[in-house]
């Protein structure tokens, strides 16, 4: 069995921990089948976000999705999260195994 990877999009969002649940719901609505969430702290335009009180911490959320789903997520994040939360997003091209999962 040879492992042939399929092209897919990786969308990474870093935002306030408070926005975690909203973000996951939003992405599910856009068609994401899963998500990986890691703790993070950060510095950015809205100052330092140290991780010691959860209210101030960031989360780093990754979605591996099809290009169409990625486009939908980008649009929703731009509309619903950017105006309300300290948040950044980037997107890149990746290859996955088991395309059917995404």
């Amino acid at each position: 069995m040879t492992a042939t990877p399929h092209p897919m999009r990786l969308v990474t969002i870093v935002c306030e921990a408070l926005a975690r649940d909203l973000l996951l719901r939003l992405a599910r609505e856009c068609g994401a089948h899963g998500a990986t969430v890691s703790p993070a702290s950060g510095v950015g335009a809205t100052g330092e976000r140290p991780a010691d009180i959860e209210e101030g911490a960031n989360v780093r959320v990754e979605f591996v999705v099809t290009p169409e789903t990625a486009a939908r997520i980008l649009e929703r994040v731009e509309r619903d999260l950017f105006p309300r939360f300290a948040c950044i997003l980037w997107e890149s091209d990746v290859r996955v195994l088991r395309r059917g999962k995404f």
Partner: protein, 327 residues
């Protein structure tokens, strides 16, 4: 013991000194910091312990005694934002959402300030109603709800986005972790009573004051990092953060004495009115009023009002309670 003596006595006890150590360490940019998990764990411990002890005290006192103070406290918490909001909006010239958010913080309460006050009373051998932490538990949420309503009323129409619906705010105000823990532990304490408290006293009672001291070290570190934000906040907010607690403290003490609380109990109600939330309110406001700047409210409550209350405020409210209670 006169006021100055009481202040000196209060300042030279572990909790405020550990807070000062945290402030200094943050100011000196030391790399001292507590792990995030310790911060949350201490919060959980303190809320569970406060609730449990309060519940056991309610059972001892009987619900017949407790209902009036609890009702009055709930009304006070809901009422405070009603006058704090116009002060901020028209005197302080804050935008509507910021005024509403800050008003909610000051109507809600700080469990840690409350606990420092009970420690102060214990050290000066002033008795107080054991069920007072029921007042703490009831005062968390009403102000948050009123604050959100104030903010929403003035907000223009437009896409509210997910999470800003009133239902979600209600959920956050009533099922937020601090409320659930405090009220849940209160109920458990009430059901278990004194015998239950004895079983778990080695954990929830004996180490309590020391845990509080450690927690204040962390709060000092957090507040110290917030000090920078204060400059942006401007002199009005700084004055507000010192003066409004004195007003609310006086109101709380007076009403407490009126409804028949002991001077110790009235001191605690005054402290609760004077204190500002920095756990429940920030999270709820961030979700409900996203336009409000969280830096302003957190800097005011954590870096001004909290240190003021634990150093000077509490002895002051106690002094008021003593003077106004002697006929």
């Amino acid at each position: 013991m006169d006021l100055l003596e009481a202040i000196r006595h209060n300042l030279l006890s572990p909790a405020p000194l550990f807070f000062a150590l945290g402030l200094l360490a943050a100011a000196a940019k030391s790399d001292l910091k507590l792990p995030e998990a310790l911060y949350s764990s201490l919060t959980i411990y303190l809320l569970a312990a406060i609730g449990f002890k309060g519940g056991a005290a309610i059972q001892e006192a009987g619900l017949g005694v407790v209902w009036l103070p609890v009702l009055v406290a709930a009304v006070l918490s809901a009422a405070i934002p009603l006058w704090t909001y116009p002060v901020l909006r028209f005197l302080g010239r804050f935008p509507a959402s910021d005024a509403a958010s800050i008003a909610a913080h000051y109507g809600s309460v700080s469990a840690v300030t409350f606990t420092v006050a009970t420690g102060f009373l214990a050290n000066t051998s002033v008795p107080y109603e054991g069920y007072s932490s029921a007042l703490l538990a009831i005062m968390e949420s009403p102000a948050i709800l009123v604050g959100v309503l104030l903010g929403k009323m003035t907000e223009g129409p437009g896409n509210p986005g997910p999470g800003s619906s009133l239902r979600e705010v209600l959920r956050e105000a009533l099922l937020g972790k601090s409320v659930v823990l405090l009220v849940g532990a209160l109920l458990i304490g009430f059901l278990c009573g004194k015998s239950g408290l004895e079983k778990v006293g080695g954990f929830f009672v004996a180490p309590f004051q020391g845990v509080l001291a450690l927690f204040l070290l962390e709060l000092g570190l957090v507040a110290g990092r917030r000090l920078r934000d204060l400059r942006r906040a401007g002199p009005f907010l700084i004055a507000f953060g010192v003066l409004i607690p004195v007003v609310h403290g006086a109101v709380g003490v007076a009403i407490g004495l009126t409804i028949g609380l002991s001077p110790g109990g009235a001191t605690l109600l005054g402290t609760l009115c004077a204190s500002a939330s920095y756990i429940a309110a920030p999270a709820a406001m961030r979700l409900a009023l996203p336009d409000a700047n969280p830096t302003l409210s957190l800097a005011a409550s954590l870096a001004i009002t909290f240190p003021f209350n634990v150093s000077l405020g509490i002895p002051l409210y106690h002094e008021m309670a003593m003077r106004w209670s002697t006929p």
